[in-house]
């Protein structure tokens, strides 16, 4: 083989190129491993403290909701108890005060979660806000039920507290929904950038449809089922 021919043949090797798909995956892996390393080694205390405060926020929110639900159960029991009117009124009055206090604390927790939303897993935020929404719905319903109970009617102080409960419940529901919409949009945007399995892609498309139609709850359920994201 002549020298010139050999040089020409050698030049053909320069056409060898890696697969495009592999290039994308490899690049992603390199920076992913880097992110994992950062998570493990960079600012461990900062991460620990912020994780702790987030867990505290979530626990507080759950604790206050549980309190509310317990009080609601108490009221339901008292409404139909065979006790004197005064006794019943006193017990219910105490329970609704407790609900009101806990609702205020849920609202504060929700505000804190909203402030820290970037540090919390979006799915966790969606889950907790869904529980909050259900809880305030229960509080509102029980408030209306108490208002119409024969022994409670026309009791000014109780009626006033019940009015506040309904108002606070509506406010919390509205805030939770705003936060959910924000989280759903962020989650959809994040997931759209990822390479998903066929099944997960279909769920994502359905979630988008439901979200556009205003069915937030179904959208949340579908998004929560997508992979290990």
């Amino acid at each position: 083989m002549e020298e010139k021919e050999l040089i020409r043949e050698l030049k053909i090797f320069s056409k060898i190129k890696p697969d495009k798909n592999w290039v994308v995956l490899s690049k992603r892996e390199i920076f992913k491993e880097e992110e994992k390393t950062q998570e493990r080694f960079l600012f461990p205390w900062k991460v620990f403290i912020s994780t702790l405060s987030i867990i505290t926020l979530l626990l507080f929110a759950i604790y206050f909701q549980t309190n509310i639900n317990n009080k609601i159960a108490e009221i339901s029991k008292n409404l139909f108890a065979f006790e004197s009117k005064d006794q019943k009124t006193a017990q219910i009055s105490e329970s609704i005060k407790a609900i009101n206090e806990n609702l205020n604390k849920v609202e504060v927790s929700l505000d804190n979660i909203k402030e820290n939303k970037d540090k919390i897993n979006k799915k966790e935020v969606l889950g907790i806000t869904q529980v909050v929404k259900n809880t305030v719905q229960n509080s509102k319903e029980i408030a209306k039920k108490i208002e119409s109970a024969p022994d409670i009617k026309n009791q000014k102080e109780i009626s006033k507290t019940l009015g506040v409960i309904v108002e606070t419940s509506d406010k919390i529901r509205e805030k939770s929904e705003e936060l959910q919409i924000e989280m759903i949009k962020a989650l959809i945007s994040d997931l759209s950038k990822r390479s998903l399995s066929l099944e997960d892609s279909q769920k994502l498309e359905k979630a988008k449809d439901y979200f556009e139609k205003g069915d937030i709850q179904t959208a949340i359920i579908l998004l929560s089922q997508i992979g290990s994201y």
């Binding site: 083989m1 020298e3 050999l6 040089i7 043949e9 050698l10 030049k11 053909i12 090797f13 320069s14 056409k15 060898i16 190129k17 890696p18 697969d19 592999w22 290039v23 490899s26 690049k27 892996e29 390199i30 920076f31 491993e33 880097e34």
Partner: protein, 166 residues
């Protein structure tokens, strides 16, 4: 520009070259991919800490890491193929169509004969005749004098020609 962006630029600039360098040396697509990935992962780990020891000559650095990875691969591999037996080694059946065409018949023969050259000769022939680097650039990559590289390139090509005609 943040370090990640800077590194992505280097990644895009050197990925094909390093992959080619490794592929020609190992002749297997998947091994070439694994080793190339390791090269760029190690380089990124060094790059992000470059305030300790900056990478002044990226091409020299990437090829050096690639050579180390290839050497490690052959050292760790239980089935080390003696260099003379490479002429009988089949080309990886998983290589893509483009690579298959390139490495068919005559070119595969050239690749195997190239691997029969001393390592330094292989590298200079690869960098000059395949990648098109100048003697001066290769000198910087391999940390050798430009004239030495010129001599190695000439001898490498002659030896390769002789091996192919023998």
């Amino acid at each position: 520009m943040n370090p990640k962006k800077k590194y992505e630029k280097l990644y895009n600039q050197y990925l094909d070259k390093i992959y080619r360098f490794i592929f020609i040396k190992v002749g297997q697509k998947e091994t070439a991919q694994d080793l190339t990935h390791q090269v760029f992962l190690k380089a990124w780990q060094r790059f992000k800490n470059s305030n300790l020891s900056p990478i002044n000559n990226p091409s020299a650095y990437f090829y050096q890491v690639a050579r180390n990875e290839i050497a490690d691969y052959y050292r760790k591999s239980k089935n080390i193929v003696p260099i003379d037996d490479l002429k009988n080694e089949p080309v990886d059946p998983n290589i893509n169509q483009e690579e298959k065409i390139i490495l068919s018949n005559e070119l595969e023969k050239i690749r195997i004969k190239l691997l029969n050259l001393p390592e330094e000769y292989q590298n200079v022939v690869f960098l000059h005749y395949i990648e098109g680097y100048s003697y001066k650039e290769i000198g910087k990559i391999l940390q050798k004098d430009e004239n030495t590289i010129r001599v190695i390139a000439f001898r490498g090509l002659q030896q390769l020609k002789n091996l192919l005609s023998s």
